[in-house]
């Protein structure tokens, strides 16, 4: 799978989904075109999905937030008879590289999280309306919805058949949602995961797998009624949507990327990509009307979309760039002014959506399995939201004092309200709280210093950066750090970094990603699944997996 994957799409290009809008209710039909897989070598039968199907879903969910703020309830259903969704396509998984599988699972879970959180973040509630088979990843799609309705036609069922069928972890993030979100009893969950054909009817409600089962003849009517009820009960702020237009992006011959505010320089020999984020190139909107008029060209939204696209591009298309370097250049005060405008206007749906998008984007960076470092250079604008990057990455280095021949403003970090609650990590703590888990008073002290430009010495003193270097040491120290990083095993680094990034309490989200990276990564690499005689490789041949019986 060497083809470059593009995460940009729009409704005119969809192969697999249809959306119909009816006032506050949108209906999302999954109707996968079996011959439109992202890669060769498999057909997407029975509404099974590959990355391409999920890229479209992610696009729909994103557009639902920005282009259709009037929508309060989204009904997710199937456009096919007799099948809701058969889950991730097995032949695609069987043929995919390990790295692609893991990236695929991560991206699909991020998309699931996005629409799962849509209710809390912006009052858009997703309902799964299930007719027909709903298996594996198909049930995961439903699990991420906040209300699940199943028809009682005595054959429609929900299932996680991975253990008996494929010898992999049931539902990459689904299993965690079964116990943590649906709060199903663990012994019943064990039974459920061993049943290839799943659970249907009243038992599915009793076991908490779905919220309601409905007589088949009344199903569509009850789904419509429920959607209306939820829409009526919602106090979501609405308005007229903005259009998400294609990003301006050029890819250089060497693989570098150039957006309007984000630049990605590639150094293949060093295995490194440097992302440079620009500060504001426009004034703060004079009014909410102006913000809406700017639409997707507004500074913070454009920056988020470009950075998001760059991160996804690097994850899927540049597997050997193991180190991501984050830089910023611009006026921190101007950045904070843009940020404050949104923070002060959270009751406006668009301001709220842009901030909620940043929350998701920062989380996406948190779970990116590359070594990440931030360089706080002169002229940089690590302030407020952008300062969050410093505590998302694994290490940060900051320039101290003036550098010869460098007349840019001296490097400083400025904290704002944004650093104290609006952008929690997956563990539900802020990045600062996570960073200072043993010294909660340090966070309180920092809160007092909001708005101050903290230069190197102060930043180091208060624990905001890893190390500071002056003109004499900077180049060498940074070079040595990068060379050393490049010499380590990428696997060991992925494991180490993922362990270190998420201190503090577990949440459903941290468990999903933690278990995904640990367990699914491990199982996907074991011969019982992916060896030549493993169940995943043999799936479809009619011959069962041949398992080594040793317990590990």
């Amino acid at each position: 799978m060497t083809k470059s994957i593009d995460f940009q799409t729009d409704p005119s290009q969809y192969h697999h989904w249809r959306v119909s809008y009816d006032g506050p209710i949108a209906t999302l039909f999954m109707d996968v075109d079996e011959n439109a897989g992202l890669f060769e070598g498999y057909q997407l039968k029975l509404n099974s999905y590959d990355l391409g199907v999920d890229i479209e879903l992610a696009d729909i969910v994103q557009r639902m937030r920005f282009e259709h703020p009037e929508v309060k309830v989204v009904v997710m259903t199937s456009g096919k008879d007799k099948v809701f969704c058969a889950g991730a396509n097995i032949r695609m998984l069987g043929g995919a590289s390990h790295a692609h599988k893991v990236n695929f699972c991560k991206f699909t879970n991020e998309t699931r999280n996005t629409y799962e959180a849509a209710e809390a973040d912006s009052g858009q509630k997703y309902i799964a309306a299930i007719k027909g088979a709903c298996a594996g990843g198909g049930y995961e799609l439903a699990l991420a919805c906040n209300h699940i309705m199943l028809t009682d036609d005595s054959s429609s069922a929900v299932s996680l058949p991975e253990v008996p069928l494929l010898a992999v972890l049931p539902g990459t993030g689904g299993l965690t949602r079964v116990t943590d979100k649906r709060k199903m009893r663990r012994d019943l969950a064990d039974v459920f995961c061993s049943l290839e054909e799943g659970v249907k009817g009243k038992r599915a409600v009793k076991w908490r797998l779905v919220d309601e089962v409905i007589a088949n003849s009344k199903f569509d009517a009850v789904v419509a009624e429920r959607a209306r009820e939820f829409a009526t009960a919602s106090d979501k702020a609405t308005g007229t949507g903005i259009a998400l237009t294609p990003l301006s992006k050029t890819i250089g011959a060497d693989g570098s990327l150039q957006y309007s505010l984000v630049e990605v320089a590639v150094d293949r020999k060093a295995g490194k990509a440097t992302l440079t984020l620009s500060g504001p190139d426009s004034e703060v909107p004079a009014s909410l009307e102006a913000l809406h008029a700017q639409g997707d060209q507004g500074y913070l939204l454009r920056l988020a979309r470009e950075l998001d696209d760059a991160i996804l591009h690097l994850r899927f298309n540049e597997m050997e760039l193991g180190l991501l370097v984050f830089r910023t250049q611009g006026d921190p005060q101007a950045f904070l002014a843009h940020e404050a405008f949104l923070m002060d206007n959270r009751s406006d749906w668009l301001a709220n959506e842009i901030l909620a998008y940043w929350k998701r984007l920062l989380k996406r960076i948190d779970v990116t399995s590359r070594s990440m470092v931030a360089l706080v250079e002169h002229g940089s604008c690590f302030a407020g939201i952008l300062a969050e990057l410093l505590w998302s990455v694994d290490r940060s280095y900051m320039m101290e004092d003036e550098f010869e021949g460098d007349n840019r403003p001296i490097a400083a970090i400025t904290l704002s309200d944004a650093n104290f609650g609006a952008f929690p990590m997956g563990n539900a703590l802020t990045r600062l709280q996570t960073r200072f888990l043993g010294e909660p008073e340090a966070v309180d002290a920092l809160a007092e210093r909001r708005g101050e430009a903290l230069e190197a010495e102060e930043a180091e003193e208060s624990g905001l950066v890893t190390e500071i270097f002056d003109d004499i040491d900077w180049d060498d120290e940074i070079r040595i750090f990068m060379e050393e990083r490049a010499s380590f095993s990428p696997d060991a680094l992925t494991g180490m970094e993922a362990n270190l990034r998420f201190a503090g309490p577990e949440t459903m989200e941290t468990r999903i990603f933690g278990r995904l990276t640990a367990w699914q990564n491990w199982i996907f690499n074991r011969p019982n699944a992916t060896g030549p005689d493993g169940a995943l490789q043999r799936y479809g041949s009619g011959v069962r997996g041949d398992y080594a019986q040793e317990r590990v």
Partner: protein, 483 residues
Amino acid sequence: MLDLINVSYDTQIPNNVGLSSDKRVLKALEKWHPGYINWWSDLIPQNFQQSLVYLRTAVSVDPKGWAKFDYVKMPEYRWGILLAPEVEDRRIPCGEHAGQPAWQEVPGEYRNMLKRLIVIQGDTEPASVEQQRFLALSAPSLYDMRNLFQVNVEEGRHLWAMVYLLQKYFGKDGREEADDLLRRSSGSEEAPRMLGAFNEETPDWLSFFMFTYFTDRDGKMQLESLAQSGFDPLSRTCRFMLTEEAHHMFVGETGVGRTIERTCQIMTENGITDPYDIDKIRAFGVIDLPTIQKKLNLHYTLSLDLFGQEVSTNAANAFNAGIKGRYMEHRLTDDHMLKNDTYPVWDFEDGKLVRKDAPALTAINMRLRDDYTRDAAGGVGRWNKLIAKSGVEFEMKLPHESFHRQIGVFAGKPFDPAGNLLSQDEYDAKATEWLPTKADGDFIQSLMTPVSEPGKYASWISPPKVGIDNKPGDFEYVKLYMA
């Protein structure tokens, strides 16, 4: 000692499986029984329930004399549980366990797969009774009415056979599935039958004959492959069911044959030589041969869809597990494992039909469908002999298997009955020549007037050559209850 050949009547449920000493299963079946009787009573119109029907009832599984004929009211029919005699030292015939002793108990690792196969098979049995529920009202003779009821009660018994397996071998889940078999109902919006073809109504007698010829033959092929199961109770059940199934196909083949015969007779008697002189032929109250061909096209292709995808993981799994074999597995001479074998499967490449080699294990459905097509061709040949004998120039043909398909590689593509790919417009323009139209259906329906005088037949169908149980032509096969 248990008498496993003759049917025991010491419980409410006739059986040759020693039910009286298997309290657990007996209790489960007795609990299920009232629901079944309710289902039957709600289904068949009341005056027929009270009528005396000359039916055969299985009394033994000895191939030499397994049934007896007598008048019986259908609700009192002795539905029973009958398994073909156990074959000594039977071995698993195929797949990775080939050669090992056949399972007498459900192997844990295949429990779900087996259960699903049994449920799907079981779901089709009551479905056809539901599809045919109103036909008795327009029966062309008492003889045909009796055949309809015979088919119905035996499909009911086949349901019993599957329910027995579910209750005996699949515990609580099995009992729930058995209940669901009565909950689902053909054409129901609430809980339809599992396979699409079993949710269509059988609107007239020609459809019934075509159904029993073509669709019951799919049932026969499925039973033939389940009779090869390494799970011995399933194999024995299906082997006995096949004995009964043969009669259903006889009803279909002779029904279509008698319809054709009557049409040819009328044409000859009235000097009509052009089989396409449809209005003239229909004016005599018979069904023209081109319309019969259209019905054949419809039912044959719907039945082909029942075989599923040409290349199928489920079919491969079932074969490899040894729980479903191929047609006549025991007569095939390969290794019965299909490790490296291939089988040519239809595919569609650059607008052309080609047969390409696929791993034989995954092509089990394709192979069974090919066996089916060969099997179905036999009766078509015999119908053509009837036509030829009458002097009418016409030939019935099985359409190409790409025609009018909803499942598999040909699904939704506009092929004509000869297997040529057309444009959608060309296809739509000619479809009424190939498939029955509403007007065709209305015409056939107009002929469906009941005939209930012994020995008399409706205008559109000839009498049978021989009676059931060698009874004379004017035998009263059904003593109608007149309320």
